[in-house]
């Protein structure tokens, strides 16, 4: 699933490790999310959205899901 996590992380000048620590996951999970290899759970998506002060839909691209 496409996300804006990398874009937002760089905008906020955060490292992957810092973001991972803030949302309670490992750096590898953030790497996988940014690489579009792994789709986060609802809880993690909420934590990431809350961390950036945005909604889930503004960060995660659901267009592929809507096309199905």
């Amino acid at each position: 699933m496409k996300t804006r996590i990398q874009e937002l992380r760089k905008k906020h000048k955060l490292s992957q490790e810092e973001l991972a620590l803030a949302v309670g996951v490992t750096r590898q999970t953030i790497t996988s999310l940014e690489g579009e290899k792994y789709t986060s759970s609802l809880v993690l998506a909420y934590k990431i959205a809350k961390h950036f002060g945005m909604t889930i839909e503004e960060i995660f691209d659901f267009s592929e899901v809507e096309d199905e």
Partner: protein, 147 residues
């Protein structure tokens, strides 16, 4: 975080308890076990001692890790995150999780025990455990790369 600290303390007690049991078994079997001078019997005995030595290394590593984590808030948080990471849990579930590890441990115990009674059964179980470990390793690499 206090709950997790208590969890680690209980784990240390459990690990050391099981380790004491394994130590008792290896000492008793060393005293009362069958003596043998053939290469095969030496190999079997070496495997049994090797499993025990590996277990000691495992116990020492984890007890030290938990000990330092209990005393350092940063390490405690990092350990908790690593253990509860959702992607890691997802991959563990894909591989077969705790059930698969339990099966490997069970076959390992059976292999050690069989070494005292039957060489045929020992080598059969040894082959089985090598296969299971290779399968788990391959799956772990595959899913860690995929996700």
């Amino acid at each position: 975080m206090d709950n997790y600290q208590n969890t680690l303390k209980h784990r240390i007690v459990w690990i050391l308890g099981l380790d004491a049991l394994a130590l008792a078994v290896i000492i008793i079997t060393g005293i009362f076990g069958q003596d043998g001078t053939s290469f095969t019997q030496g190999f079997i005995r070496g495997f049994q001692i090797g499993i025990f030595a590996g277990l000691q290394g495992f116990v020492l590593f984890h007890v030290i890790k938990y000990f330092f984590a209990i005393r350092d808030e940063g390490k405690l948080k990092a350990l908790k995150i690593a253990e509860n990471d959702e992607r890691a849990k997802f991959i563990r579930d894909k591989i077969g999780g705790g059930g698969f590890n339990f099966s490997i441990a069970g076959v390992a115990v059976g292999t050690v025990a069989a070494g005292f009674y039957s060489q045929t059964i020992f080598f059969t179980l040894l082959t089985t455990i090598v296969f299971m470990v290779l399968v788990k390793g391959a799956l772990k690499i595959y899913y860690n790369t995929k996700y």
